[in-house]
Every structure is written in C-alpha cells, then in structure tokens.
C-alpha cells in the first residue's frame, strides 16, 4: 500500500544544514498499522510529513515514495490528497480557533468537491462518537479528547484509505487516550484503513501496530514485528534501551544506559 525507498530530507544550507531523515525505507501493507517510534528529533514526524507532501516547500526531499501504485510527484495529485489524511498531535494547534466544528469539517469536503456535505459532516461526527449538536461549537468550547475526535472526523470526511497519525494521543489524559485509541481501532476495522502511527510511546505503538520501525538520528535503527516487540527480542542496543526505559523506573537499569548517536 505504502512504500518508501531511500527517503532523505535535508533542511537549510551551509552552516545551517540539517539532515533530518537519512535513507529511510519502509513498506506498509494494506490494512496494516505501522508504527514509527523514536525520541524527539529522531525524524519520525518528518518522515510522515514528507510522505504527506508537507515539506516540499521547506526542505529538500529525495527518494521514491509510492502509495497504492501511484508514484508520488513533487506536487501531490488531488486523488492522493483525498486518499491520504493526517491527524496531528496537538488538537489545540490544528483546529482553527475561529471556525466552528461545522466549518472545520465541511472545508475538506468542499475542497474535494464532494456532494451532500451536511450529511457527511453529521455522519463523520457520529462515527467519532459526537452528536450533531457539536457542529456549532468552537474548538475552545469542547474538551481535548473531543477536539481530537473532531480532528479524526475531519480526516474521515474525504473517505480516505490511509490516515497518518502524528502522536494522536500524547496530549490527552490516559483515560481519554484509551477512548481515542479504541476509536481509531474501530474505524480501522470498519473502513479497512491503513495507518502510520508516529509516537514516542512504545506501549501505544505496541497496542496499535502490527509492525514498527525504531528511528534514531534520522535513520531507521531496526524494524520489528509485533511478535518480536512482545518478546523483547530486539537485536539493536538502542531499541533494547528504549524497551527497558518504557517499562518504568529501575534504578539499576539506568546506570547501564548508554549515549547513542
């Protein structure tokens, strides 16, 4: 469904040159959830943005990307933009503060010249567990979890096949996180969606994904199946350290931590 080969992303020039993503290759099958894990600055979000076509104006992107047999050009096609949607980390920053939920949800439908916009909006809200009365509220009038549901509804409006999820629950309380993760799992089942999930939280990725890549310093260190992750059978020291750290505080284990990169 998604294939990335030899992706490189470089920001800036000369002294300010920053090589954010190095030689990243990955393959995601249709209907799969694929996780990208790493610490801040590892390049995981940049891979997602490069795939979505959000970096063409700000960085030099090279490498080959195909989505469902369509080789991606610098200018993404209209159909790509309909089929691939994104949900961002911060529901405060990604919803227009002066637009109502109704405006936020109808905009992508209008851009893609879809019909029956009102029905689509109501239906999308229903799918994310919000009733139609939310249409006329502003983002500041609803909670963080509801805001993230609106972001997901906005992604669903165009009837996508692929949703790129950038830390979709890291700004939420754990009880709300559980609700949103359950929602994402259900939507994937019902619509046969394919996900790429970017997160620093290994447990969230382990819960959601069938395969994952661990990134560090812009490169993929290791790609693991869920079985390998569950059995902690990682071969790379960096991944093992990340796994240990995800299990909680252990004073003796911390002394063995190494600096990587």
């Amino acid at each position: 469904m998604i294939e990335i080969r030899g992706l490189d992303v470089v920001f800036g020039h000369g002294k300010n040159l920053f090589h954010a993503v190095r030689e990243v290759s990955l393959r995601v099958e249709k209907g799969q959830s694929f996780g990208l894990v790493g610490e801040s600055g590892s390049g995981k979000t940049t891979v997602l943005r490069a795939l979505a076509g959000l970096l063409e104006r700000v960085a030099r992107v090279s490498g080959e990307m195909t989505v469902a047999d369509e080789t991606l050009m610098r200018q993404r096609s209209q159909s790509f933009r309909r089929r691939v949607q994104m949900v961002f980390q911060d529901p405060f920053g990604s919803l227009h503060p002066r637009h109502t939920v109704d405006t936020i949800l109808s905009e992508p439908a209008r851009v893609h010249k879809l019909d029956r916009i009102e029905q689509r909006v109501v239906h999308a809200l229903e799918e994310v567990g919000l009733d139609a009365s939310f249409r006329f509220r502003y983002p500041h009038q609803i909670s963080g979890g509801q805001r993230q549901r609106v972001s997901i509804a906005r992604a669903l409006i165009t009837g996508p096949e692929i949703i790129l999820l950038d830390e979709p629950t890291s700004a939420l309380d754990v009880s709300v996180q559980a609700e949103v993760l359950n929602l994402l799992m259900r939507l994937k089942r019902e619509h046969g969606l394919t996900y790429i999930l970017v997160s620093h939280n290994l447990a969230v990725v382990a819960h959601m994904c069938e395969a994952l890549s661990v990134m560090q310093n812009g490169a993929i260190v290791e790609t693991m199946s869920e079985k390998q992750l569950r059995e902690h059978s990682s071969t790379m020291p960096y991944t093992r350290q990340l796994l240990t750290a995800s299990l909680g505080y252990d004073r003796t284990a911390i002394d063995a931590f190494e600096e990587f990169g």
């Binding site: 610490e39 359950n182 819960h207 569950r230 350290q241 796994l243 995800s246 252990d250």
Partner: protein
C-alpha cells in the same frame, strides 16, 4: 531523625471564586509526608498540582486556601508571616517545575542562578558559592560543569535544564522537594536518568519528596507510596507495590486503561466515571 512527619496536611481546601461560581480545586485532602517518596497521581483537573502549590503558598491570586492543619516541622504554614514563608520556600521546601524552559531565568547564566538560590538561604563568599555550585552541577551528573556554569538556559538541552533545576533546588538543602511533573517534557531515557539523579540525592540526604504526575507507571515504579486524586479528593492511598491490588474503581480504571507493551490489539477497558466518587466521604471515615 525523628519519627514525626516532615509535613502534615489535614483537610486542605483550595477554592477559586470565578464569574461562573465557586470552583473547588482541592476539597479535603489529608496526608503526611516523612522521609520518603510520595507520589500524587491524577488526571488533569484532579487538583494534584493545586495541592502542591498550596503547600508552598503559591496558589494563584483569587484562590483561597484553608486547612485544619498545614504543618511543616512544627511551623504552621497557614498563619506564618511572609518572612518565615520566604525562608521555608527554597530553604525548607522547594519545588521543581515541569518545564525548565519557562522556569529558569533566560537572562541569567546557569551559574549565577544556582548561586543566587544558595546565597539567599546561606550567605557565604562568592568563591565558596561558585565552588558549591560547580560541585552541585557535578552531583546532578552534568559532564562539563565549567561550561554549563557559564551558559545561558537556552544553550542547554531539556534534560540538562531539568538537572540544573534540580541542582538549584537542592543547593539550599531543603527537607522536602515538591516535583510537579518534573520530567514530562523529556524523552523517556533522559527522564529516567534525571529521576535517578533526584532519587540518589533524596536517599543520600534523607529528604521527603512529593512527586506529582499523571504517569501512573512512572509513579508506581519510582515512589514508595501513592495518593490517587480525583476531583480534588484523594480517592485512594496505597503503597506503590500494592497498586495492582487497588480497591477504588477509579484507580483500577486508570491502571487498566493503559496500553501495554505486550498489547494484544484488543479494546482497552474504558474508565467509566461514577458520580458517586464526587460525593464527600461520609462521617464513617
């Protein structure tokens, strides 16, 4: 070392008068802190940070704090004068905030900020202050203390910034540290390394720690004892080891709704909130 607690809090209330009515941020929290690591866990709005701030008299303007008892080593914090409070803040009880970016002074070098914290509580010569600050930077495992001493906060990483905060809070040798989400902004490995620094210092000096966090796993593995807060109340107290056997449905819900590394892709149990949790504990308590 005596057995009497460092800090006693009994029936602490924090209320805010807002245009839409009275908001009860904390209602009736009681606990004692000895030389131990006490975790306060709860979701946003549970009152955990408000509890920490009320102890130090840092409740925002418009907030009212009342308690039957708020006692630090025999000093009543509720009717202490500002002079006493200033001595206790930093010297007796100090606080580590969440984000070093906002809580370090951006226009002062790291060294002079740490020295300032020391000099306010223990006047000493500039030379001694410098030596002790450098020693403190080494104690929080900063590799090039001389370089960092001269650096400004924006020149250091988040993990280093948090170590600097710890150094600054530790140098007046307080008895209690209140840490409000001290490592939430950090990557997981850095987070644990910073906590190890804090842990070692607390153990070496026999201090008390109040660790406020939303991260149940972290609190359970780091602290000795846990208070679970919901809607301004402590709904349950337990030792960290007994968290799995927690009795209160809210605590159980919090524990169960966390995704796990050995995850099976099944639905996560969702926390169902019971309005009864909000009613004040009856007289039978």
């Amino acid at each position: 070392m005596t057995d009497s607690p460092l800090l006693s809090v009994e029936d602490l209330h924090v209320t805010y008068n807002t245009p839409t009515g009275l908001v009860r941020a904390v209602s009736g929290v009681s606990f004692e802190l000895g030389r131990e690591k006490l975790g306060i866990v709860g979701e946003s709005g549970s009152g955990k940070s408000q509890t920490g701030r009320a102890i130090l008299g840092l409740t925002a303007a418009g907030g009212r704090v009342s308690a039957k008892r708020l006692d630090f080593k025999g000093t009543n914090l509720l009717n202490a004068n500002q002079r006493t409070l200033r001595q206790i803040r930093g010297g007796g009880i100090s606080m580590i905030m969440q984000d070093p970016k906002y809580s370090l002074n951006p226009v002062m070098t790291v060294g002079s900020q740490i020295e300032e914290a020391l000099l306010i509580h223990n006047p000493t010569s500039k030379r001694v202050a410098r030596e002790r600050s450098l020693e403190m930077l080494r104690a929080v495992k900063i590799r090039q203390p001389e370089r960092v001493y001269k650096a400004y906060p924006h020149e250091v990483s988040g993990g280093m910034g948090q170590r600097i905060m710890i150094a600054m809070m530790m140098i007046p040798e307080p008895d209690i540290i209140i840490a409000d989400e001290p490592t939430s902004a950090l990557d997981v490995t850095v987070q644990l390394q910073v906590l190890a620094v804090l842990d070692d210092m607390i153990n070496a000096r026999g201090m008390g720690l109040i660790f406020i966090s939303h991260d149940l796993n972290l609190i359970a593995s780091f602290c000795d004892r846990i208070l679970i807060m919901y809607d301004g109340r402590v709904v349950e107290q337990c030792t960290a080891a007994d968290l799995d056997r927690a009795q209160h449905p809210y605590t159980q819900g919090l524990v169960n709704c966390l995704p796990r590394l050995d995850g099976s892709h099944e639905e996560l149990p969702v926390l169902k909130r019971d309005p009864a949790w909000r009613t004040p504990p009856g007289a039978a308590r």
